[in-house]
């Protein structure tokens, strides 16, 4: 069940009005192969930001 981790979210609470991640999204967050790709992508983004910020 892809939303078992959300058992604590009750109806008509502030939590119930939020966007919550399902199993696939949660899996990718710690999937090593995918995260290696994200590691490279984030570093490129941060490097571009740093270069843009120096005056």
């Amino acid at each position: 069940m892809e939303n078992k981790h959300l058992e604590h979210v009750k109806s008509y609470t502030p939590q119930n009005g939020t966007m919550v991640p399902l199993g696939g999204v949660k899996f990718l967050r710690t999937c090593v192969l995918w995260q290696i790709c994200r590691f490279i992508a984030i570093n490129i983004t941060m490097t571009k930001l740093i270069l843009k910020s120096h005056h």
Binding site: H5, L6, H8, V9, P14, Q15, G17, T18, M19, V20, P21, L28, R29, T30, C31, V32, Q35, I36, R38, F39, I42, N43, T45, M46, T47, K48, L49, I50, K52, S53, H54, H55
Partner: protein
């Protein structure tokens, strides 16, 4: 020979000192005045606070590093600035009070050609009765390595109770309506939650976030928007999502006005008063200037002339006190030079911001409840480097005015907020934001460039956070290739 005095040896002061020393010829002097004997990589205090790192992992002795760099190091705290000298000393000077053991309480006068105020903040625990972890012993903090060690030992006691099956209430967030640094509390709450979940103790722990932000994800910079699925989505959406997923309840728009043993009193923006019980609380204090005084040639107190009421040093910002609707990116300082005394600069937390970044708010009772602007980490270091470059150029005769700028309205920030430690199971939120100060004229609606304003949570963020930990400690110790590591 010229002498640069840098008050403070934190991220911004240390960066300014080390680059100034590198760029100036040996005939010139770079002097660092700081009461601390150790440098602390503060972002990793979070991990000390959950027992995943030791104090030695996040600190190192300053003296050998400054000796290697040819920087004069005085373990002392600055007392006063005399930008015109006085009746007997014609040159501008600062008075300092040595705090190292052998010279305890010995005051000294140091003349300067250029002065950089990088004192960082005073942790103003006294703003909230009962908040001081050293005196009141109700709550803990992670603002210093020693505070984080204390937090870790108190958390261990909670863990022991949870192991016995006792239910425990944990409260983490900000301890006053005018706090900044929500990010540190954000990291701590998710690291504590991750640790308890890893230990299999999460079910008996009720974890609550309390903050002066008017909405989750404000972070003192009015929140941010990032692109997702063809939408520009608010950080509020992502923050609420994460808190919900990790089963952390939240209280926002809260001014903690009193802390008692196992009970916090707070006021909300709607003016209502509440109490929250806790077994463990980590509450960040508000920041203030360190209390430096200033005197003119006649020894008249001019503190209010060069410092803002909150104790931070005025620079080239617009301090006219505009209404929120009139705020502009150009209100923010760029050269960080004091306008009355052109050889005085302020960097990092020590400069006085022109106003908040988040919309100013007051409760119905008139109590201000809004985050003050964050200016730690990457922007602090960039300010330190830019000011060092300007001063070196002025000393070397290249210019009579600052040659480099570091406006928070024209620079971005990369921020990695840990949400749990672990090489394979850890996560962190990797964020970039450009510019730091929202510019609604240039970027209508969002205030920021959506190409350079990004955010995501994952294991990659944790690896980056680990890399930053080792990289910045390497850089700060001036080990080989230190200049290649960006600020």
């Amino acid at each position: 020979m010229a002498r640069i005095i840098i008050l403070g040896g934190g991220v911004s002061g240390h960066t300014a000192a080390t680059f100034a020393s590198k760029w100036l010829k040996e005939e010139h002097e770079v002097v660092v005045i700081t009461p601390n004997s150790k440098w602390n990589w503060i972002p990793s205090n979070i991990w000390v606070g959950i027992g995943e790192m030791k104090k030695e992992d996040v600190t190192f002795d300053l003296a050998p590093v400054y000796e290697k760099a040819g920087i004069i190091y005085k373990q002392a705290k600055a007392i006063s600035i005399h930008p015109e000298g006085d009746k007997s000393i014609s040159k501008n000077y600062v008075t300092i009070e040595n705090v190292s053991n052998e010279k305890e309480n010995k005051t000294e006068v140091l003349e300067y050609d250029y002065l950089i105020n990088a004192t960082g903040p005073k942790l103003n625990f006294n703003a909230t009765p009962g908040l001081n972890p050293e005196i009141d012993k109700n709550t803990v903090s992670v603002c210093t390595a020693d505070h984080a060690l204390h937090a870790s030992s108190e958390l261990d006691k909670i863990i022991e109770k949870l192991k016995k099956g006792e239910k425990q209430k944990l409260l983490i967030g900000t301890g006053h309506g005018m706090c900044t640094c929500q990010g540190a509390a954000f990291e701590y709450i998710f690291n504590v939650e991750h640790k308890l979940r890893t230990l299999g103790l999460r079910q008996n722990a009720e974890i609550t976030w309390i903050s002066n932000e008017s909405f989750l994800g404000d972070f003192g910079m009015g929140g941010m928007h990032i692109k997702r699925g063809g939408y520009a989505a608010s950080s509020k959406v992502f923050a609420e999502s994460l808190y919900t997923e990790r089963d952390i309840k939240w209280i926002t728009g809260a001014h903690v006005n009193k802390v008692e043993k196992e009970k916090v009193h707070y006021e909300l923006l709607d003016g209502s008063m509440h109490e929250q019980e806790y077994d463990f609380a980590m509450l960040i204090p508000p920041f203030a200037g360190v209390g430096l005084k200033a005197y003119d040639k006649q020894d008249v107190d001019i503190t209010s002339k060069i410092f803002a009421p909150n104790g931070f040093l005025k620079v080239d910002a617009d301090y006219s006190g505009k209404a929120y609707e009139e705020w502009k990116a150009s209100d923010w300082p760029s050269t960080l030079q004091n306008q009355d005394y052109k050889n005085i600069f302020a960097v990092g937390i020590a400069f006085a911001p022109p106003h908040l970044m988040s919309k100013p708010m007051k409760s119905l009772n008139g109590t201000p409840i809004n985050p003050t602007p964050p200016r730690t980490g990457m922007p602090s270091a960039m300010m330190g480097k830019a000011v060092a470059r300007s001063i070196c150029d002025m000393i070397n005769g290249k210019s009579s005015t600052p040659t480099h700028t570091a406006s928070m309205a024209q620079m971005g920030a990369a921020c990695v907020a840990s949400a749990g430690k672990g090489f394979f199971k850890g996560t962190a939120v990797s964020m970039t934001v450009y510019p730091i100060v929202p510019d609604f004229e240039k970027y209508p609606g969002t205030g920021r460039d959506l190409t350079y304003t990004t955010g995501e949570i994952g294991l990659a963020g944790h690896w980056i956070k680990q890399l930053l930990h080792h990289g910045f400690l390497w850089k700060a110790q001036l080990k080989p290739g230190w200049t290649l590591i960006p600020e």
